[in-house]
């Protein structure tokens, strides 16, 4: 059964102990992002979009370890996280393309994805906003004595904003069951991290809150999963939050047409040698989990499936004007 025809919860469950399923999801994210990039270039997508090319392993590593009843606060760079958590390419693409079948009816767009059936809170386009929000979700779990753990995923640039400091401090003081994941992809928009932050090893900032800080190779989903496991365990045991810094790299520009001319020469190429798809593929081959041919076939199938998802989404209707008046308050507003 193709992952793309499963329900979001099934798509999530399938990841847990299945390296091939994980690889397949990473491929899906990779080709999804490339599709979106093309659609944007062709003017079929309105607004802006932030791709996570190169960061697929982090999303999938987290999702593989996390139960669906655990809340996640993520960001505008959220397609990969959404797909990894289980949302289907159909609803994500429909949202990005402004269709009423999109995960939030087409009124949100690329930066605003959500599916509570797999724990994804509305992604925020405000840097750092999700950090206290995840702490708050953890506060609900702690207060209601639920066993879930909340997760915040945010960028290296976000580690410089006040909400980072306040969110981590609050979570530490209250020993909240939350895991903070910095997706350190080396850039905030067009600025390399060394221009805006005194050092690059952001997990060291955990010391300010008296909580563990760990760093993990974010290009390797297995390592990510292992790191998450430990952090989730701590949280469940009442030991409070962990700060995980995943070292990744943004293969694309910041958004839309950014070609990232500001990169030091050779940096991208260096990182591409550790392309998460390559890392996983090599492991699968080494373990004999599949043959090179099988993996190539998998990739081809996924690309085809995404093409048909695109056809399907293209044929979907836009929301009616009335849709913009829905879901502002619990009670429908009368005008």
């Amino acid at each position: 059964m193709s992952q793309m025809t499963m329900t979001p919860v099934q798509r999530r469950d399938v990841l847990r102990d299945d390296p091939l399923a994980q690889y397949s999801r990473m491929l899906e994210i990779r080709h999804f992002e490339e599709l979106v990039n093309e659609l944007f270039a062709q003017g079929e997508i309105h607004g802006t979009t932030h791709l996570c090319l190169g960061q697929e392993a982090l999303a999938v590593g987290i999702a593989a370890e996390l139960p669906t009843d655990h809340a996640v606060a993520a960001t505008y760079r959220g397609h990969g996280v959404a797909l990894a958590l289980g949302m289907t390419p159909q609803v994500v693409l429909a949202e990005i393309m402004g269709r009423s079948a999109g995960c939030v009816g087409g009124v949100g767009g690329s930066m605003h994805l959500c599916d509570m059936s797999v724990g994804l809170l509305p992604t925020s386009a405000i840097i750092g906003a999700g950090i206290p929000i995840a702490a708050g979700a953890a506060l609900a779990y702690q207060t209601l004595e639920e066993q879930s753990v909340a997760v915040a995923i945010f960028g290296d640039g976000a580690a410089n904003i006040g909400a980072f400091h306040e969110g981590l401090n609050l979570a530490a003081v209250w020993k909240l069951p939350v895991v903070f994941v910095i997706d350190n992809n080396v850039y905030g928009e067009y600025s390399r991290i060394d221009r805006t932050t005194p050092f690059e090893d952001l997990h060291l900032r955990s010391a300010s809150y008296g909580i563990p800080g760990v760093t993990v190779d974010g290009m390797d989903s297995d390592l990510v999963q292992d790191t998450m496991r430990v952090a989730l365990e701590r949280a469940r045991n009442g030991q409070g939050p962990t700060l995980i810094e995943a070292k990744t790299y943004r293969f694309a520009g910041h958004s839309r047409a950014d070609t990232a001319p500001y990169r030091p020469e050779g940096e991208l190429e260096q990182w591409k040698k550790r392309d998460p798809l390559l890392v996983t593929k090599q492991r699968l081959l080494k373990k004999g989990a599949a043959s090179e041919d099988q993996l190539d076939q998998l990739e081809a199938t996924i690309k085809e499936e995404l093409e048909s998802v695109l056809d399907e989404v293209r044929s979907l209707p836009s929301p009616n004007p009335a849709a913009m008046f829905d879901h502002i308050y619990a009670e429908q507003v009368s005008v």
């Binding site: 509305p122 206290p132 306040e166 308050y329």
Partner: protein, 338 residues
């Protein structure tokens, strides 16, 4: 039913809602051990324990943001912002996150949270601790905004705010915390968000008030025996257009009395809306009685002048009722401002 101060009415409402619904929690700076800087949460820690009544670090952005996440996951947090100015470091969480979470999830997520913030002048706290700042939140689809004017309305509206499925900003006039009044508790004491109340009946002009200006205006009307209809708005978003409009259609005149500076306040929204809807009924220009466009001064006499005082309200209303002409505020008088 009993007589209590407004801060006690608030603590009572909080306690009752916490008893009724175990998902209600309270957090803020010194709300637990100390019972709140204005004693609006006295007794809660003792009754409900430290899990549901939480002292926070000084991190308005952090704990207001946390309230959003907590609300999304099943709690009903009531957050205390000690002085409304502190929303200046936390506005994102309410205006840009909480207010939009229902929309951005198409109904999957709701944020039943209340942000209580004390507002206003009158206690000598100086210009960074005396504003009302309704304008920071009032133009936000997705938020509701309420503002009580006495112990009863504090009790009744706060309960409604806590029960509301959407985020509510609850602005408490600080100068009224110590004011006493009879409070009907229980179901009969509950009020509805979005509903104004007629605080005095009258025929010659409709005078709309909010929070602290309600009692001031009532006292002014009594003192000078003014035949005015006072409408205490109680909710700013949504506000009770119907009640105000119906009254203006009867009286033909509209005055709004605000505690804040003249420019940019909520009063113009009332006037603009009502003028559009009831222009033909107006027999004189509607106008606002407000504070001047200055930061709130500290010194006692100056601060007392800042607020539209009872005597200023009498002076302006009397003149308006007689002449139908918009009166000049005190500060345009010779020798005041240049």
């Amino acid at each position: 039913m009993g007589s209590m101060r407004m801060n006690q009415a608030i603590a009572t409402a909080l306690a009752e809602e916490m008893r009724e619904n175990s998902s209600v929690i309270v957090m803020g700076e010194d709300v637990a051990d100390a019972g709140g800087p204005f004693k609006t949460s006295e007794g809660l820690l003792k009754e409900f324990g430290p899990k549901r009544v939480r002292d926070t670090p000084i991190s308005e952005m952090g704990f207001t943001g946390a309230a959003v996440g907590a609300a999304a996951l099943g709690l009903r947090p009531v957050v205390e912002i000690m002085f409304v100015e502190f929303l200046g470091v936390a506005l994102d969480a309410v205006v840009t996150e909480a207010a939009k979470f229902r929309y951005l999830s198409q109904g999957q997520v709701s944020c039943p949270m209340v942000v209580r913030a004390s507002i206003g002048s009158g206690l000598g706290f100086g210009c960074q601790h005396s504003q009302t700042l309704e304008n920071w939140v009032a133009a936000t689809p997705g938020l509701k905004v309420a503002c009580p004017s006495d112990p009863q309305s504090a009790y009744g509206l706060l309960k409604a705010a806590i029960r509301d499925p959407d985020p509510v900003i609850f602005l408490e006039p600080r100068a009224l915390y110590a004011s006493r009044g009879e409070v009907v508790t229980g179901p009969d004491g509950l009020l509805e968000l979005g509903r104004a109340r007629i605080a005095r009946e009258g025929t010659k002009a409709t005078v709309v008030t909010l929070g602290r200006t309600t009692s001031l205006t009532r006292a002014a009307a009594q003192q000078a025996n003014l035949d005015i209809e006072i409408i205490d708005l109680l909710s700013l978003v949504p506000w009770d257009v119907k009640t105000v409009c119906a009254s203006v259609k009867r009286t033909g005149r509209l005055v709004v009395i605000e505690e804040a500076p003249h420019s940019g306040g909520w009063g113009s929204e009332i006037i603009s809306t009502i003028t559009a809807q009831a222009f033909a009924s107006l027999d004189a220009a509607p106008f606002r009685i407000t504070a001047p466009d200055v930061p709130v001064p500290y010194q006692r006499d100056l601060e007392a002048l800042y607020l539209p005082s009872e005597s200023e309200i009498v002076r302006q209303l009397e003149s308006y009722l007689v002449t139908g002409v918009v009166p000049q505020p005190w500060w345009t008088q010779e020798g005041i401002a240049r």
